[in-house]
């Protein structure tokens, strides 16, 4: 909730500024200002015995999670004192060398918060002792905000796990939602074959979920993260497929007779699949039960309609339609009250609702040449929008993270299409894939 307030505030500020300056890319410059964010120092954790070789992975993961949360100003390590505490008992009332909280609170560090701890191996498990201290407190006892043990396997995966969990606890203290356990699903292209893959939100643990040897494209994830719907060419023509994510296993889905059933998504309760079908001769929006039965036409128009996305709070479907150049529209669940949201400029696609249902991410070529999509953010109630990417290749398929603050999208800024994540304000950009060609990410719980 804090997160959406942040964005709301920022939107307000940027729109006001945009009105004055006549441009819309101000969110970035506003949110990336450091004012108001706590300064966080994170010592390099050490490990004993078999934990020691895992510390590069651990420290990298912890720092990255905290930094990309966008909630903190990360204090540069060059300002850190010579000595770093590892255990609470290392802290002394005065030190001057780093073993007193005052050493971290004062200049040049100016940290408001200090994260420290250590890793060891006990009983065949990796054990992280993680601490977060408020440097403004007089005593170590009153300064402790987090003091907790975390357990993982004694390998790189275990080191990442305990780092993610400790980072999530710190982020949670500052109102950030947890990304723990969330996955990004995407399409990896290899020659003429495209398969659905999944990875952790930091790009780790990439694995294929489909093995169609064909085209498996355009994934959507249910709100609870338990199911994926996608478009499959395994039978020759585009049809819908559903699979459960844990473990990855196909579920039955009856496809209604049509040359095309495609671009599926789930209703907020996960019980209904919305999709585009050419059953009437023209791709229109349909809805069906999770197994494909009880299919029904939602919209009636004379234009191609694809990508129906039901608002997480219900009641409204955002979708993409012609005639002419594709634009974003919305309608109610009965297919009535159709309104165009984008203003008719360029081409718009890939609507994605924020978890709280207020803001809509999408890709738009407004202001650029045909096909040059960038990521935009819109408040559909006011039609105000802001642009999150620019001058960095083609950017498409934005999808919100479950925390409502991060987004994931695909971009060919590196030369080939790869998956990137960033904060919704455009900061904290991270490239998550490098192998093959990767597109169409969706972020699920």
């Amino acid at each position: 909730m804090v997160s959406s307030q942040i964005i709301r505030t920022l939107l307000f500020v940027s729109f006001s500024a945009a009105a004055l300056l006549g441009q819309g890319n101000l969110i970035q410059s506003v949110i990336s200002k450091t004012a108001g964010k706590p300064n966080l120092a994170v010592v390099d954790f050490r490990g004993t015995g078999a934990a020691q070789p895992l510390m590069n992975t651990f420290n990298g993961t912890l720092y990255s999670d905290l930094e990309t949360s966008g909630l903190f100003t990360m204090v540069s390590k060059s300002f850190y004192p010579l000595q770093n505490p590892q255990r609470p008992e290392d802290l002394k009332p005065t030190s001057g060398q780093g073993m007193a909280l005052a050493d971290w609170a004062g200049t040049p560090v100016n940290a408001n918060w200090l994260a420290f701890g250590y890793n060891s191996v006990q009983g065949g498990q990796l054990v992280l002792y993680g601490y977060l201290y408020d440097t403004s407190q007089k005593t170590a006892e009153s300064a402790q905000a987090i003091g907790k043990r975390y357990f993982g396997s004694v390998d790189e995966g275990g080191a990442r796990k305990v780092a993610h969990e400790f980072a999530a606890d710190i982020i949670s203290k500052f109102g950030g939602g947890s990304l723990i356990g969330s996955h990004i699903y995407f399409v990896r292209e290899s020659g003429r074959v495209k398969e659905i893959w999944q990875m952790d939100y930091d790009g780790q643990n990439q694995k294929a979920l489909t093995h169609s040897g064909s085209l498996s494209i355009m994934p959507a994830v249910s709100n609870d993260g338990s199911k994926l719907a996608y478009t499959s060419f395994a039978s020759g023509t585009p049809k819908l497929s559903i699979l459960s994510t844990e473990p990855g296993r196909p579920l039955r889905f009856y496809n209604q007779e049509a040359s095309l059933n495609a671009t599926p998504s789930f209703s907020p309760d996960g019980a209904t699949v919305y999709y585009s079908s050419s059953a009437s001769g023209l791709p229109q929006i349909y809805a069906a039960n999770l197994d494909g039965t009880n299919f029904r036409r939602v919209s009636v128009s004379k234009a191609i309609q694809v990508e129906p996305k039901v608002n997480p709070k219900g009641g409204v479907i955002a979708f993409v339609a012609g005639p002419g150049h594709q634009q974003i529209y919305r309608m109610n669940l009965e297919g009535a009250d159709v309104e165009r949201l984008t203003n008719g400029e360029g081409e718009a696609s890939n609507p994605s609702w924020a978890p709280d249902g207020r803001l809509l991410l999408f890709a738009w070529t407004r202001g650029y040449s045909t096909g040059a999509f960038n990521i935009f953010l819109m408040d559909p109630s006011t039609r105000e929008f802001d642009q999150l990417t620019s001058n960095a290749g083609r950017n498409e398929n934005p999808s919100w993270a479950p925390d409502g603050r991060h987004i994931v999208f695909t971009s060919n800024r590196s030369g080939s299409f790869q998956i990137y994540s960033m904060l919704a304000d455009g900061t904290q950009l991270q490239r998550l894939t490098s192998s093959g060609v990767n597109r169409s990410p969706v972020w699920g719980k």
Binding site: T237, L260, S276, E307, V320, G322, G324, Q326
Partner: protein, 261 residues
């Protein structure tokens, strides 16, 4: 491509000239090899002397897919002239011969000796229309007929209207399709809708569907059997070129034809 074009034309020409459906997949069930005794044998004045006999005359395997090979194997006794029809001719009294028939065929072996003549038959069944790169058997499949006789219909950006050049292509395709559907009575043809890379993948899937159905509707209007024209949209998932220029964009905005079942 040149080889394919020639081969496809020969196939169709042969099929038309002989009024047969040699390019069509065929499954024929025939009894196992059985030597047939010559009618003369029973009244042979030289009864008691050794008559020619066919010891073996088989084909292995007895059923192949088009483009594959089989082996004829034979041995005869008491014969001084042995021949096999269907272009094989005179052979030794025992031997094998590799054959690659393009359709089901029955071979007749005739063995003649001083004391009579016998003949025997064996049949190889040729099934399926498996695409083959073997140019000797290429002329006989639907894929090559479709690839050589049908051309793409091109579209404007974000459009599915059949423009003038597409009309010309589809008019020719209509005649060709009628011929193809006559030559391959069980064959179907797929109309694929394709798009250039600029629009979104999702919208292009819908647009490709409309391009395919527009092309199909135009052909049906010209009398082509709609039942045997299937449509599929590939959107921008199967581009034939990937350069970011107008020429490549145009080449990808097309209805393309491929062989169905």
């Amino acid at each position: 491509m040149r080889m394919n074009r020639t081969a496809g034309t020969i196939c169709l020409a042969a099929a038309l000239a002989f009024g047969v459906t040699g390019c069509k997949p065929k499954v024929r069930i025939t009894p196992p090899t059985a030597p047939i005794a010559s009618a003369a044998n029973t009244t042979d004045p030289n009864a008691g002397k050794l008559k020619p006999a066919i010891l073996t005359f088989t084909v292995e395997p007895s059923s192949i897919e088009r483009g594959q090979s089989a082996t004829l194997r034979w041995s005869v006794s008491n014969a001084n002239a042995v021949s096999i029809d269907n272009g094989i001719g005179e052979v030794q009294g025992a031997g094998t011969r590799r054959i690659t028939p393009t359709e089901s065929v029955t071979y007749t072996l005739t063995a003649a000796g001083p004391n009579g003549t016998v003949s025997g038959r064996t049949t190889v069944n040729v099934t399926g229309a498996a695409p083959t790169t073997n140019t000797r058997t290429g002329p006989t499949n639907l894929t090559e007929a479709v690839n050589t006789m049908l051309s793409d219909a091109m579209f404007d950006y974000d459009g599915n209207t059949i423009r003038a050049d597409a009309q010309q292509a589809l008019n020719k395709n209509a005649d060709a399709l009628k011929k193809i559907f006559t030559d391959f009575p069980t064959g179907s043809v797929i109309v694929e809708g394709h798009c250039d890379e600029r629009g979104s993948a999702e919208y292009n899937l819908g647009l490709g569907d409309q391009r395919a159905s527009s092309a199909k509707a135009y052909l049906v209007q010209l009398g082509v059997s709609g039942d045997r024209l299937k449509t599929v949209s590939y959107g921008k998932e199967r581009p034939q070129c990937t350069e970011a220029n107008d020429d490549c964009y145009q080449r990808n905005r097309r209805a393309h034809f491929s062989a169905g079942q």
